[in-house]
């Protein structure tokens, strides 16, 4: 990055929620097990999901009225954002939160599947389908459901529930947007445009509507969990969706020090690109980003690999050359695949490893199932 006086960016808070539970300890414990803690093969058969562990929502979202206004993807995100604020020691600092800027990486919210099913059933024999659709939608949609579906309302709910009201921006677009949320948040701090940012995302996998979208194109794995990097061969390819949310509090190093905050890790670099996909392009892009991010000898690699055929094999081959000997953990073997959340989740886990002195430097890789690659370097503060 060019430009004047680049400031160091540190992570001062992380919030993690997934099938492994919540918080740093639960996720560090899950890292080495090789298999997500919770796997449900029955509810959404033939698809497997990694459901989120039960949460005591009241702990982060005290008002029931707020909980009711949200769908699960928003609750997960607001919950994880609260954990991150707690971890940074700013939960009760309304001045800090009032100036805190927010970047959220996410898609959209849940459908009302019962309403959709009933409408589709009725549409089949409706003499006037247009009029029927209008009538049913007008009568059956909950007015507030829209606000639980709108992408930017995760950020809106974080503002309402936690008082994070600097200003928010929501990035959309599957895996790459989570990396770009981190990249732009870090760049704004490094360049002095802002002092602190809350950045992260949330994904609820336990919803059949997203399975339709990802079955289209054949990206969903139709079998029980198997290790992400060994999903080769007929019928093995694809991702298993996992419910997860991750948020990080990023600050300028000197600002964090000035308020006496503990720097858990340094967010040393975030590199991303979107070359056109062609055979070999993923490996080449990862190698270029690896150099751009300045990764040298990481003690560990956290990979957001999807398990989708050929691109995951390309990533595996690239990593064996880039980081020979470093242990590679696939997030798909910890918490499942969570699209937009992959980058923030991997970065939060890397931060946890560094903060607990289990690694000096960790590289996080993200390869989008359709497009976009990213490499994030987290190192000891």
């Amino acid at each position: 990055m060019s430009g004047p006086a680049r400031r160091e960016v540190v992570v001062t808070g992380i919030g993690l929620v997934s099938c492994a539970g919540e918080g740093i300890d639960a996720h560090l414990a899950a890292l080495g097990t090789g298999r997500p803690a919770r796997t449900d093969t029955a509810t959404f058969a033939p698809y497997t999901v990694h459901p989120v562990a039960p949460l005591a929502l009241d702990g982060q979202i005290p008002k029931k009225s707020d909980q009711r206004q949200m769908e699960p993807w928003q609750r997960l995100g607001v919950y994880a954002a609260g954990l991150a604020l707690d971890s940074a020691g700013v939960k009760d600092d309304s001045a800090f939160k009032g100036a805190l800027h927010l970047v959220v990486a996410c898609g959209g919210g849940e459908r009302d599947t019962a309403v959709d099913g009933a409408i589709l059933t009725g549409l089949r024999d409706a003499p006037d389908p247009g009029a029927y659709l209008n009538e049913r939608l007008l009568n059956d949609l909950r007015p507030t459901l829209f606000l639980a579906q709108l992408s930017n309302l995760l950020a809106g709910n974080i503002a309402i529930v936690h008082g994070v009201t600097g200003a928010s921006r929501t990035f959309m677009g599957e895996e790459p947007c989570g990396v770009d949320a981190l990249r732009i948040a870090a760049a704004r701090i490094a360049s002095g445009q802002v002092e602190a940012m809350l950045v992260g995302g949330s994904y609820s996998a336990e919803r059949p509507d997203v399975m339709v979208v990802h079955e289209l194109g054949g990206y969903l794995r139709r079998a029980d969990h198997s290790p992400v990097f060994s999903r080769s061969g007929e019928g093995e390819s694809g991702f298993i969706l996992g419910s997860a949310a991750a948020f990080l509090v990023l600050e300028a190093e000197e600002a964090a020090a000035a308020r006496g905050a503990t720097a858990l890790a340094r967010l040393s670099s975030v590199a991303s690109d979107r070359p056109r996909r062609a055979p070999g392009s993923v490996g080449a892009s990862l190698s270029a980003l690896w150099r751009e991010a300045g990764v040298t000898r990481p003690d560990a690699v956290i990979s957001g690999a999807t398990g989708v055929a050929t691109i995951t094999a390309e990533e595996g081959a690239a990593l064996s050359e880039l980081a020979p000997g470093a242990p590679v953990t696939a997030l798909g073997d910890v918490s499942g695949h969570s699209l937009e959340v992959t980058g923030p989740f991997g970065t939060a886990l890397a931060t946890a490893l560094v903060a607990r002195a289990q690694a000096r430097e960790v590289a996080v890789t993200v390869v989008g199932h359709r497009r976009g690659e990213g490499v994030i370097r987290v190192s000891a503060a």
């Binding site: 089949r124 006037d128 007008l138 606000l147 008082g163 976009g372």
Partner: protein, 413 residues
Amino acid sequence: MAVTGLGLVTSVGQGQADTWAALTAGRSGIRTIGRFATDGLRTRIAGTVDCLDTDPLVAPALSQRFAEVAAEEAVSQSGIGAKGDFPGALFIAVPPVEMEWPQRHALAVASGQAGPITYTDLQRAAASRRFDEWHDLFIFGTVADRIADRFGTRGSPISLSTACSSGATAIQLGVEAIRRGETAAALCIGTDGSVNPESLIRFSLLSALSTQNDTPSAASKPFSKNRDGFVMGEGAAALVLEDAEAARARGAKILGYVLGCGEKGDGFHRTRSSPDGAPIIAAIRAALDDAGTMPGAIDTINAHGTSTPENDKMEAMGCMAVFGERMRDLPISSNKSMIGHTLTAAGAIEAVVSLLTIQHGRIPPTINYALPDPAIPLDVVATTRDMAVSRVLSNSFGFGGQNTCLVLAGEPA
């Protein structure tokens, strides 16, 4: 921060020239919806862009098409790079994407299910592999991906939403990236083609839309006493932003400047502003500060002006707090009176109109301003006004506590 290319698509015209002529003639693009059946709906009007269509006719495809047309105009006007080789980043505000009813229905039929339909049936039909191209159509990153491919923008494209201030945020992200020195140019786009039954009904259920269907052109009446909601609109705008020195060095014609951007979050309510207007006031002040501009140097305000009772009251309150007594004779106008509320695209479209206002020395009118609201005594531009304009404040506010303001100018600060 120089602007060297502009592109515009709205319900009143395709291209800057057509749109500008229509807007300054006070022509409305609001009409009775012909795209889908409106039986039983409380609102049956919108500012649809009917001169462009797609197959299938769904929001992401329309949004992509509008964005392509607007970006083509902007990039060509700027003369930057080469065809398909834009030397800078892409920031594009796109509406949230999801599968739409015609496709759900097609999957339901293809499933062969004769009993009650569930998502399991849709999944089974999806697994037939006959509909695989819908994956890309209905994921969030595709519109940006295709625009990036077509124009050859650099790096990872950013698809963003800040609800109804998204278009302004796309510009702000471009400005910030250029200021950081990451890129010398940015293609900033806001696009929205989401006039479809469910989108319309969602706003209708929140009582946000005008129901004055009988004379469509008269339904959107920002700042009027009898305003009763917004009218959905469609369109896109694109701006080529460049570091001013770099633009001058390559001999580009500079069309105007983005002097400043300001934003402020509001945690009061999901759809309503803080009653004291503090976040709106803070966003306007932040934009003025960023621009190094005193309130007295603003010549006119391109209002968010949605025509909802809530927005127009709060916007007026915010402007009065910042500009004081001067608000009584500081011209303010809302393009939404003619093109409706173009949602994700609005901030970008209105930034382009603001730059055209400066270029032409004409302020487009707020049509339908027949019955002023005495509670908000403003100098609403009811008929096209000729006057020299050097600096415009453009406001954008959105659900979820989003407030983004821009200061646009004819000359650098």
